[in-house]
Amino acid sequence: MKRTVPLMIVMVGGILMIIQYFIPHQYSLIVFDNYLEWAPIVGAFALILGVGSLTRLHSHKIRRRAKNWQYSWAVLIPLFGMPFFALIMPESLGGGTDVHGVHDFLFMHVQVPIQATMFSLLAFYIASAAFRAFRAKSALATVLLLAAVVVMLGQVPIGAIFGRWLPETGLWILRYPNLAAKRAIMLGVGFGMLATNLKIIFGVERNWLGGAGK
């Protein structure tokens, strides 16, 4: 029940879906359509795992007065405040999901700027890394560096100042050697995914079972 049944569900479900692709019979299509209606419902409940783990982690931190525990309130208050305002609070008191509510404000004017700014910090770090670590130490590293510089210049309008050859060379690198390298990686990833799919379907790969009971 604890391990065999889930493994059987995976195997039967996986094989049925592969068969369904090759033999799209009327009955199998009906089952398939129902499945596609059901799957996002089941998938939606996975949210419980995220919310549960986050709540447990931060409530423990607060209870134990762990280092920086005060900040855990900054996680828990919006975590439950957002649904409270969006789903329970009447619109007249800032509830609902439409513009001018607390939910919209927190998302559009707190979440969006914070997240966008955090990602933009990478612009500073990549400049610093380029200065400190991007070295033409060997022939291969020099090729990498030159390709990067040509593409960087070719992708911006100022690159055209050096002549049309620069952006065109940049595009040539992208369209041919870059494509060759990425296609080889893609084929590798593709075969890897197929192998993993089969390993999971046939129960060879079982890590997903986790440690929740033997």
């Binding site: 604890k2 889930p6 569900i9 995976v10 479900g13 094989i15 879906m17 592969i18 059901w38 089941v42 998938g43 939606a44 409940f45 996975a46 419980i48 795992l49 995220g50 549960g52 920086n68 855990s72 900054a74 208050i77 919006p78 975590l79 957002m82 649904p83 789903l87 999901t97 513009v99 404000f105 979440q111 700014t117 955090m118 933009s120 990478l122 500073f124 090729v143 990498l144 030159l146 390709a147 593409v151 940049g170 369209r175 041919y176 050697p177 870059n178 494509l179 060759a180 390298a181 296609r183 080889a184 990686i185 084929l187 590798g188 995914m193 197929l194 089969l198 999971i200 986790g210 009971g213």
Partner: protein, 209 residues
């Protein structure tokens, strides 16, 4: 008024996060935690409004779609993950979603990632009227792909004409590809900064358009 306050709050948080570039500080830490809480809170509302209510509760209580109780109950088993004695029950919804997902994905992944790519790699090197740089490009593309594949093939030692030379050419092609990726990565990161400067100087201070 709502928008003005919103933009001021957003701008202050933006500056607070940039203060991290000078030194790690409590305002940055606060923002870091807020992002986690708000995004998860947003997702709770979203899942309720787009799945739980219209695809589960309303059909069950408003019509005769009682069969939907099955995915509902299956989904609820995720909760058992937090009750150690019956945590194994949470494997059932995972097994349902994963097994079927793997099965569905298998033939389509085969097509998208493997068959179409192999097909596209088999093209004529030259056709009439084709400029020299495209011909050269096609040669690089076809033999470059093969060489890069040889480089990633570790079951044979990289020695001899085919595996040795092939893998050597392969690594050069891969380096060109990685160089292009680095160039684009720089572009992408700078673009993210541009977005924030536009926000600060445009939406907030109205200095630029």
């Amino acid at each position: 008024m709502y928008d003005t306050i919103g933009i001021w709050v957003g701008a202050l948080f933006t500056l607070a996060i940039y203060s991290f570039l000078y030194k790690e500080n409590p305002v940055y830490r606060l923002a870091e935690h807020l992002v986690v809480g708000i995004s998860m809170g947003y997702i709770i509302v979203l899942i309720y409004n787009t799945v739980i209510l219209p695809k589960l509760l309303e059909p069950i209580f408003g019509g005769n779609h009682w069969l939907l109780i099955i995915p509902g109950l299956l989904g609820l088993l995720y909760i058992t993950r937090f009750i150690p004695s019956i945590a194994w029950l949470s494997r059932y919804p995972i097994a349902f979603v994963m097994g079927t997902g793997m099965g569905i994905g298998f033939p389509l992944t085969m097509k998208a990632y493997v068959l179409r790519q192999l097909e596209a790699a088999v093209i004529p090197l030259y056709s009439s009227g084709m400029p020299w740089h495209e011909v050269l490009g096609n040669i690089v593309m076809i033999f470059g792909t093969l060489a890069a594949l040889i480089y990633f093939f570790f079951s044979k030692p990289h020695k001899g004409l085919f595996f040795g030379t092939g893998s050597k050419i392969g690594i050069w092609v891969i380096m060109l590809g990685f160089g292009a990726t680095f160039g684009f990565t720089v572009m992408g990161r700078i673009s993210l900064l541009i977005g924030r400067i536009q926000y600060l100087m445009g939406d907030w201070l109205h200095i630029i358009e």
